[in-house]
């Protein structure tokens, strides 16, 4: 059996997090969505179908065939999985018979098809194959999860840290856990990876859930971690207060208070400042005292602008969703349910920032501005990545150029509106 992950047509609901990566690469818990599927079916060949414009970047990120014609060739049985899915059942439950697994609302999550059926359906893509399978095969409402909106990742994060701990991080201390680090709760809820270091005067609370400190991570003195929590490979905590349901991706440098949030990886939130119920992309820098609200004072449900369109989340606790390579200045105040695009530069004004800032914008003098242009943004990205020994690939540059063109109308609309609202 081969496993084929595919993006359905709703990838744009996960913008800005999915401008520069396939949906399958989003993090929830300790692992990314694709990694969870790979771990469940370790002996199966994995294929990914994503937007064609992401093909080269996806290949760099995933290390598996991307948009390869072999994905829909009827040479093997196929487990077709929505790239936004989290499969919660045992591996052997997915290939018992030909069927479709769907949400209670009928959204496609996965389908198992025999090679012969794949040949009969004759689809031109995995997405089309899913549509045909949904029409032809028996469907069943399943307990598996489909991530539809950015806040779904946050809602699921604590549970996924627990699941990923059980699946991939055995309870053990391989790195250095200082004798004067306080561990509260059952040690079977703690994983300290090889080369990790937990310094004295740190507090690890495993009572309510597991704490994963991955290989090479550094937890500096006076940091506190409440499980369930995940500290990724080579991440560093600086007097951080990591509260439950938080995932810190690899090579992040983090301080201050963080609650029920995901920082994708390679991002900095070095200093004091609260981050709650938020998803922060890659190569982001949050300046000192950047603070976000995740709860309105009237306790009403939070509205989030999805691609500029206000959408009621139905939830009272929603933070910010911040795209890759965005920077905030010292003292930035992010409103409840904010969406900030990729490669923005936010310079704090006198009050909270607008809830929706399109990609490639600067926020300056309490107005949304055009910024320094794409070439300067690329130069800044290169400089930031070089500091961590990484480099901007040609494929990523091409994708950024595409995204800049794609998002320019949204940006210019906001720039013009702000100039009318607050002329110079």
């Amino acid at each position: 059996m081969k496993v084929v992950l595919f993006e359905d047509e709703r990838f744009h609901l996960l913008f800005p997090l999915t401008y520069l990566r396939p949906v399958s690469e989003l993090r929830c818990g300790a692992l990314g969505l694709r990694q969870k599927v790979q771990r469940k079916f370790p002996r199966c060949a994995l294929h990914l179908e994503t937007r064609e414009v992401l093909r080269d970047v996806a290949a760099e990120l995933c290390g598996c065939p991307v948009n390869d014609p072999a994905r829909i060739r009827p040479d093997d049985d196929v487990l077709l999985v929505n790239a936004a899915a989290i499969l919660t059942g045992p591996a052997e439950s997915y290939d018992r018979r030909e069927q479709v697994g769907a949400t209670a609302d009928g959204d496609f999550i996965w389908a198992f098809l025999k090679a012969q059926t794949v040949g009969k359906l004759g689809a031109g893509s995995a997405r089309e194959l899913a549509l045909l399978a949904a029409q032809r095969l028996p469907a069943e409402a399943v307990a598996d999860v489909l991530i539809k909106y950015p806040w779904d990742l946050i809602v699921r994060n604590a549970g996924e840290i627990r699941n990923d701990f059980a699946a991939a991080y055995p309870p053990q201390v391989r790195g250095k856990l200082d004798a004067q680090a306080a561990v509260c709760g059952d040690a079977s809820n703690l994983h300290v990876g090889a080369g990790a270091e937990v310094q004295p005067w740190t507090f690890i609370d495993c009572r309510e859930g597991p704490v994963i400190i991955a290989d090479g991570a550094l937890v500096r003195a006076h940091s506190s971690i409440q499980g369930p929590a995940f500290i990724g490979e080579r991440a560093q905590l600086f007097e951080a207060y990591i509260r439950e349901g938080t995932s810190i991706g690899p090579v992040c440098r983090v301080g201050g208070e963080i609650e029920e949030s995901i920082i994708h990886g390679h991002s900095n939130k070095y200093h004091t400042g609260f981050l709650g119920h938020s998803y922060v992309g890659e190569w982001v820098n949050l300046g000192a005292h950047t603070v976000n609200s995740d709860l309105k004072n009237d306790y009403s449900t939070v509205t989030v602008y999805l691609n500029g369109t206000p959408t009621d989340t139905g939830s009272m606790k929603v933070g910010s969703f911040i795209g890759d390579h965005t920077k905030t200045s010292i003292g930035t105040l992010l409103n409840t349910g904010s969406v900030v695009g990729i490669m923005c530069n936010l310079v704090a004004g006198a009050s909270v920032l607008p809830k929706y800032i399109p990609s490639f914008c600067w926020y300056l003098d309490s107005r949304i501005s055009k910024g320094l242009g794409l070439e300067q943004a690329l130069q800044t990205a290169r400089a930031a990545m070089a500091r961590r020994g990484a480099h901007l690939t040609d494929a990523m540059v091409a994708l950024m150029r595409y995204t800049e063109e794609l998002t320019r109308p949204q940006k210019m609309e906001k720039v013009r509106r702000d100039r009318r609202r607050a002329p110079r």
């Binding site: 600067w362 300056l364 242009g373 794409l374 100039r419």
Partner: protein, 85 residues
């Protein structure tokens, strides 16, 4: 609009955004080295020129302009293309 008028208005904008006396601004003045513009002020300048002349400038091209005189030439070109104020 002739270039003399554009220059006068450009100097007023530069003075306002960068806090430099108008009499210290010449066509040869370099935004970064002579007038002290940093990245934030560069973004402010582009926005201010666009509002002053009711034009839209492509950011990468605008940010390549290094002197006041070149800014005048650039704005004159954009005005000719876009028919701004």
């Amino acid at each position: 609009m002739d270039k003399e008028e554009i220059l006068e208005r450009v100097c007023d904008v530069v003075s306002d955004v960068l806090g430099v006396n108008v009499q210290d601004i010449t066509p040869e003045s370099r935004f970064v080295e002579d007038l002290g513009a940093e990245s934030i002020q560069s973004v402010e300048l582009v926005a201010a020129f666009e509002e002053e002349f009711e034009i839209e400038m492509e950011e990468d091209a605008a940010l390549r302009v290094q002197t006041v005189g070149k800014a005048v030439d650039f704005i004159a070109e954009v005005l000719a293309e876009q028919g701004g104020e």
